[in-house]
């Protein structure tokens, strides 16, 4: 994990959100990211991709990482760069992310056979963003860092 926020000239370009771990609050992150991305000049289709990716990352953090304990926070950092936007989403790590979910590609035909037809979130993030990295935060939580490039 690079330290984007440690450079003073970049501090003014960082937006930090601390969201309660309750489903629905991911929309606050989506709206904020969407507003920022539009101002940065991202086209509509990229803004839509960003909204989906950030909603999946925050939803995962709420549901899995923090087990919907509303007292636990999901921390979202949006860093505006000249050539793109970095989004980092961190939870407090009640439950670590299964490694396999960061690399697999779900198949709809397999989903038909399962009771749980989910498991698309992380794959969507990987498909929609230009760079995606999963890691463990120093505090022990799950962290996903996504980058979307301005072309």
């Amino acid at each position: 994990m690079s330290d984007e926020t440690s450079q003073p000239e970049r501090l003014e370009k960082v937006i930090e959100l601390r969201l309660p771990s309750k489903l629905g609050y991911e929309r606050v992150a989506m709206d904020t990211a969407s507003s920022l991305a539009r101002r940065m000049g991202f086209p509509d289709d990229r803004v839509d991709s960003l909204k989906t990716a950030i909603s999946e990352a925050v939803t995962n953090a709420i549901e899995h990482g923090n087990q919907q304990d509303a007292a636990m926070k999901v921390v979202v950092l949006l860093t505006a760069l000249e050539d793109g936007l970095i989004v980092s989403v961190a939870d407090q790590g009640r439950k670590p992310l299964a490694q396999v979910s960061t690399t697999n590609s779900p198949k709809i035909e397999e989903a038909f056979e399962r009771d749980d037809k989910g498991g698309w979130g992380i794959w969507l993030i990987r498909e929609l963003m230009d760079e995606v990295e999963f890691s463990t935060a120093p505090s022990g939580g799950n962290q996903v860092r996504m980058v979307i490039h301005l072309e």
Binding site: K22, M30, K51, T52, E56, E109, K117
Partner: protein, 122 residues
Amino acid sequence: MMLEDELTVSTRERDGVAIIDLVGDVTTFAEEKINAAYREVTNDGARFVLLNFRQNDYINSAGIAILIGIVTEVNRNNQKLAVSGLSQHFQKIFRMVGLAQYAEIYQDEEEAIGRFQQAAAE
């Protein structure tokens, strides 16, 4: 603060097609409503089912899982399923996930009804 349950689901019939109108967000909170609407039209004997979106701007992976559940039932019950009214972004997502292979995507209700009528006549 209204963060949940921002979906209105209603059903109607038009030219032999059961239309399920979905206005709002399709997330985990939508499951009961969508499944209930599908059961209702199926119990009424629907052969052709149209999920009619209204350019909804929030469909997430939990919502996609609900729709895959509907496709599973549609296949089991030998019905035909189509979707209409999706934004460009969600048309893309439906193709990526593979839903488009099991539910034809139409721009709007008119186009979907027209195609269903052709299919019924064949």
